[in-house]
């Protein structure tokens, strides 16, 4: 006779599935990067306790269906080396994931591999993971290397888009205009030519780095400091799906981490405790209490880089079905 606390099970990163008696284990891969030696361990769980199948989740996890609820302890034991190796914050070792509210911090492949990426997305994702896990609140954070936004940060509560501030050394420029063409054709047309040298419209430039990538002489190089565009409160869902909007442009790592952590405090303060499952999406909370109140909490103790542009108050669009 199964006698289960479904709330505890869900918190432990198991799903209550449509099949009576069967659960599914969710294995998160922060930053989306793992070493291949973890795969046999995942395979072992699926073949020993699951139905031999593995679902690849949209948030860069593995979901192993067909696990009997009775086997959760055994599965947790097998999960331990995976959790250890991925350095996931855990309260009781051997007992599986401590919380599942905050979703896997996902990341595009980033500068480990991608030529367009402006930073190491995996490293930043893991750093964020360390700061915010484990946590029961429903937060979605994603990191993408450049404005191409392959991970779709615009669908997240917090989307971090990599930027670089192109540095121009006019003495290395041969006026080939490869940068001008790249910026015009692949980006925002922020470059023009004046007396055979290049002028960058800093207000227009989105920091994509195409000019740097295309310059054959290293006249354009990246800024030493890494910059980010922080987009906030994108979401899918039934009532009002919408894309995340720009909040900060040319911001830095410290400010982003602080703002995300502050937002947890804001949510704890204002969340509707009567919401089903105690779950209310941050975006709806901000809609309810107002952007200014959110911003007051979010910016508490945040220090901006001198280049940072704050684009508040933020307004969102998207269809309203309610």
């Amino acid at each position: 006779m199964l006698d289960l606390n479904t709330k505890k099970i869900k918190k432990n990163a198991y799903r209550i599935t449509k099949v009576r008696g069967e659960t599914a284990s969710r294995i998160r891969i922060p930053g989306g990067l793992l070493t291949a030696d973890l795969l046999p361990k995942i395979q072992e769980i699926a073949e020993t306790y699951g139905n031999g199948r593995i679902h690849l989740t949209t948030r860069q996890g593995f979901e192993i269906p067909g696990i009997r609820y009775e086997d959760m302890d055994a599965v947790n034991t097998l999960l331990q080396p995976i959790i250890d190796q991925l350095e996931i914050n855990q309260v009781i070792p051997g007992k599986g994931y401590t919380a599942s509210g905050t979703r896997n911090v996902s990341a595009c492949i980033g500068s480990n591999t991608c030529p367009f990426a402006n930073y190491n997305t995996t490293d930043f994702a893991k750093k964020m993971e360390k700061e915010i896990f484990p946590n029961d609140l429903h937060f979605k954070v994603a990191f993408t290397g450049c404005a191409n936004d392959c991970i779709k940060t615009r669908m997240h509560d917090f989307g971090i888009i990599g930027m670089t501030e192109p540095q121009y050394d006019k003495d290395r420029c041969v006026n080939c205009q490869a940068c001008v063409k790249a910026c015009k054709q692949k980006s925002v047309d922020a470059l023009s030519v004046e007396n055979y040298k290049i002028v960058r419209d800093a207000a227009k430039c989105v920091g994509c780095g195409e000019c740097v990538i295309n310059c054959p002489t290293r006249a354009w190089t990246r800024s030493t400091k890494k910059y980010y565009r922080l987009v906030i409160m994108g979401r899918t869902g039934k009532r009002n799906p919408r894309l995340a909007e720009d909040y900060l442009v040319w911001t830095d790592e410290a400010a982003i981490i602080k703002i995300v952590k502050n937002t947890y405090k804001f949510v704890k303060e204002y969340i509707d405790t009567t919401a089903p499952g105690g779950k209310e999406h941050i975006g709806y909370i901000i809609d309810r209490v107002g952007f200014k109140e959110f911003e007051k909490w979010a910016l508490d103790g945040v220090e901006f880089d001198e280049k940072t542009i704050v684009k508040g108050p933020v307004y969102w669009s998207g269809p309203h079905y309610d």
Binding site: S111, P115, A117, N118, Y119, N120, G145, G162, T164, K170, D171, R172, C173, V174, N175, C176, A178, E194, N195, Y196, G209, V212, I213, N214, P216, T217, R218, T221, R222, T224
Partner: protein, 334 residues
């Protein structure tokens, strides 16, 4: 004369030299590469031994010291013209054997090919060259095939070991400065084998110009010019005359690197471009490097440094192209 001194003494010597010389050497520009968190190794001013990148080949060559990428030649306003001032200090350049051979190609083009170029000459006459050895070949080098793997015409050779600095000096100034140093027999490191070798045909028949060999490059090459900008023996430049925008009556003339691979190179008055096709540009470059130059001077232009192959974003291999041309010529001669 050969010497052995310790690193501290070498750096002291550098400090003394810096009074009258600017020292240029391959340097690691951390974060200065094309992609995020990648470095670029190129020439820059140095003041200590430690700043010199000995272990890797530089992405760009030394030529920018003698042939600045963008160089103002003179200023003009109304009826008056004034040439730019030469540098106040003389220069010392660290470079490898293939590059020292490349110096000969630059000299040929700028000093012996018609009138002497005064802007090149005023830098060239005041530059001293210090050879860096090659213990091993780098990935794309083919200096052995080009006969550029060894050099003797250096002002000095410097090798840094774990503890000591070994010097072979052909330069009085250094000999004087090192008068008290321990004499030592120093032979420059050089490679005798590369991973890549090329064979260049004695003469290339006209038929090769019309070969379909070049068509492959038409679609592959993106005409970025990197292969020629990194090349120590490419000598093309263009002119820029400009008027300062808030005056309009004063301006300057600049000489700026140009490349036969990049759009604009064959543009003539009226807007026509003579060589649009990238395969034909490749042909022009390859022929210049391994045939046309040699027709007028006594050696090949290319010195086999392999930088063009190192840098091409489209993985076009110049050395492989030479060998394709060679195979084609052999085929025709059969």
């Amino acid at each position: 004369m050969g010497y052995q001194i310790n690193k501290t003494k070498m750096n002291t010597l550098f400090t003394d030299l810096l009074e009258n010389y600017t020292i240029y050497a391959p340097k690691r520009f951390v974060g200065g590469g094309t992609f995020a968190d990648t470095d670029c190794i190129r020439y820059g001013e140095i003041s200590t031994l430690e700043e010199i990148e000995f272990s890797e080949k530089s992405d760009y060559s030394f030529k920018e010291v003698l042939l600045p990428i963008s160089e103002t030649l003179f200023y003009f306003t109304e009826a008056v013209m004034k040439e730019s001032d030469p540098p106040l200090k003389e220069a010392i350049v660290f470079l490898r054997s293939c590059d020292l051979h490349s110096l000969n190609r630059l000299d040929t083009i700028y000093l012996k090919n018609g009138p002497v170029d005064p802007y090149y000459k005023r830098l060239r006459d005041h530059t001293h060259f210090i050879l860096m050895g090659c213990e091993n070949t780098f990935e794309n080098c083919f200096c052995v095939s080009m006969g550029t793997n060894q050099s003797t015409n250096y002002d000095a050779y410097i090798k840094v070991t774990a503890e000591e600095v070994l010097i072979d000096s052909h330069w009085n100034l250094l000999d004087q400065a090192l008068a008290n140093a321990q004499p030592f027999t120093v032979v420059p490191d050089s490679v005798s084998i590369n991973n890549i070798s090329v064979e260049i045909p004695e003469s290339i028949p006209q038929s090769v110009f019309d070969s379909t060999l070049w068509d492959d490059y038409t679609a592959r090459c993106i005409a970025c010019g990197r292969c020629t900008f990194v090349c120590p023996t490419c000598t093309c430049f263009t002119m820029q005359d400009l008027f300062y925008s808030d005056n309009g009556k004063a301006g300057e003339r600049r000489r700026v690197w140009a490349s036969c691979q990049v759009d604009g190179y064959t543009d003539v008055a009226g807007g026509h471009a003579f060589r649009e096709n990238k395969g034909q540009r490749m042909r022009f470059k390859v022929m210049h490097k391994i045939s046309d130059y040699k027709k007028r001077f006594d050696n090949q232009m290319c010195t086999g440094c392999g930088r063009c192959d190192d840098i091409c974003p489209e993985y076009i291999s110049f050395s492989n192209c030479i060998n394709k041309v060679n195979a084609l010529v052999k085929e025709e001669n059969r």
